[in-house]
Amino acid sequence: MTALLSVNNLQRHFSVEGNKEWLSGKKILRAVDGVTLSVQRGKTLGIVGESGCGKSTMAKLVLGLIPATAGTVEFDGKPVTANRNQAWRAARRHMQMVYQDPLSALDRRLTALAQVTEPLNIHHKHGETHPTIAAQSMMRAVGLTDNLFQRYPHELSGGQRQRVVLARALVLKPSLLVCDEPISALDVSVQAQVINLLTDLRQQMNLTMLFISHDLRVVRHICDEVAVMYLGRIIEQGSAKNVLSHPAHPYTRALISAVSTPGAKHATLNSGRIILKGEPPNPVDVPTGCSFHPRCALATAHCKTNAPVTTRIGEAHTVSCHLHTMIHHGLGS
């Protein structure tokens, strides 16, 4: 199996104004700070984490919508850059995105059908079928009925809008679909429908997906692999089963314990919920050592000064935490 998408030591820094004070200088916000991961063809990788941990920046970087500060993204063996030239635009048909808020992702002046037809016209994928016919059949495939085709975005429900966004993304038959919190703006009753639709379409179209979410239950349902992000870094990564059933990083454990799933038992440290201390730290002032140490119940003096390295703790399961480094190399190190 080959990796369709591979990301190597990817970084994206933003310079932000300092305090309100004059001449306080610019500071650097490390939204994505050295991420390495790969997604096999036909697999779904989930990226989970709190808001502000750099998930959405990852999505934009992977698609080449914004330039990286350092590191590389390779899609199907070719580097992805943010140079918006002919090749960049042509590559769009292979990688598409589903957005968090479907209403703002749609042009309010265009009918649903026009929104879905547009990508076909851009890429001149006329070929055997007329663009309108192709768009209509894609819209039916995502569960939109014919009476909705001529409606404007404001005349559709949230779930219908997200189906239009999905049809627009899939009508070009891309190989990679990046979903940035695709259901968080939807009603709970509609969320499951959209998730099931995504699962079905993924199989039918052999899609590779990058699924960004903070909803661990959805990630468990849809993803083959999971990467947990904290302050721009991936702190734990592995198969969805391993990471979610046997979380190794204290942060992952806290995330999982926060999910209230009646009846289900998780291998958390204690039976109760783990309450994290404090707010997520500011990505402008990343703590020294392990960036999670100010909120970690298990942090030692060592964690405050030394950054942990990524350690393999099982087949397809890596973690960045001193607890595991010590276990592997002996406590004396």
């Binding site: 919508l65 769009r92 048909r93 995105m97 002046r109 547009e118």
Partner: protein, 310 residues
């Protein structure tokens, strides 16, 4: 759509009625036309006779009622100065006003909108800052200052253009220029901010991520969505220009509606002021109606709320 326009039209009629009533009352409460026209030291009998002949001695509501009845019959009264029909005086000054308003409006659109779009697309670049500096300057400089400045430079110092009057194209250049600087500046600012707001929307990023050329993203998605506030401002501007550029017409002694209104107010020539105000109100209200119907073209949500649902 039909019901929407009907309710808009009824509201427009109400607006016209309110403006006319307000103007009528204020004009009669703020000064005595008899004193102004006959001068303050005219014999009391003459003043009394003047009031009687113009019906100014009747109670205000009676005067107003008579005025409304006359309007409905197409009678807008006569000038207290020379007895010529008030509406004819106003209508005669419209061509002069249009001679300034139409070129100025066209230039406002042609300069202001592209400048605003350009500034938005090159946000925070030196071009953007340059355009916005000009815009702030044009916005803040009062038209009488700018007009006099232009007269000073081009008429007095250089002697290239006449300083006022109404007889040829060269007379229109300075007043049109004065109107354009302010109008284009306002439009540029609104266009820029409207474009910036739209350009930050996810559907713009989505359009780009579909593989659309940036120029097409701008023309197909950004501009039509940014057009709404621009249409509003342009509509107000057009209504204002039709109403006559009061200040600019006075500075350049241009015989348009604006200058007619100013001199009629000064003379307390009630019928002329009222006729001019009525016309100005109607043109403003008509412009707004046009703007409302243009909205429907740009925004399907308004089409839906207007009752023309599929």
């Amino acid at each position: 759509m039909g019901r929407y326009m009907l309710s808009r039209s009824l509201r427009a009629l109400l607006t016209i009625f309110l403006v006319v009533g307000f103007a009528f009352t204020i004009l009669r409460l703020s000064g005595d036309p008899a004193m102004m026209i006959l001068s303050a030291d005219a014999p009391p009998e003459a003043i009394e006779a003047f009031r009687e002949s113009w019906g100014l001695d009747a109670p205000l509501w009676q005067q107003f009622w008579g005025y409304l009845l006359n309007i409905i019959h197409g009678n807008f009264g006569v000038s207290m100065r020379d007895g010529s029909p008030a509406m004819r005086l106003v209508l005669e000054s419209i061509p002069a006003t249009l001679a300034l308003a139409l070129p100025a409006f066209a230039l406002n659109l042609l300069i202001g909108i592209p400048a605003g779009i350009f500034a938005a697309l090159h946000r925070n670049s030196w071009v953007d800052r340059l355009v916005m500096s000009f815009s702030v300057a044009g916005h803040t400089l009062p038209s009488f200052v700018l007009g006099l400045l232009l007269v000073l430079i081009f008429a007095v110092s250089l002697g290239w253009l006449p300083s006022g009057g109404y007889s040829g194209v060269e007379h229109a250049i300075l007043p049109v220029l004065t109107l354009t600087v302010g109008g284009a500046a306002v439009l540029a600012r609104y266009t820029r901010s409207s474009m910036l707001e739209v350009l930050g929307q996810p559907y713009i990023r989505a359009a780009s991520a579909k593989g659309l050329r940036w120029s097409q993203v701008v023309t197909r998605h950004a501009l039509p969505n940014a057009a709404l506030p621009i249409v509003t401002i342009a509509g107000l501007m057009f209504g204002g220009l039709i109403a006559g550029a009061v200040v600019v017409e006075s500075v350049f002694s241009w015989p348009g509606v604006g200058r007619l209104t100013v001199s009629a107010v000064g003379n307390r020539d009630l019928a002329v002021v009222q006729a001019a105000l009525l016309l100005i109100t109607v043109s403003m209200v008509a412009t707004n109606l046009v703007v409302d119907s243009i909205y429907c073209l740009f925004d399907p949500r308004l089409r839906a709320s207007s009752g023309a649902h599929h």
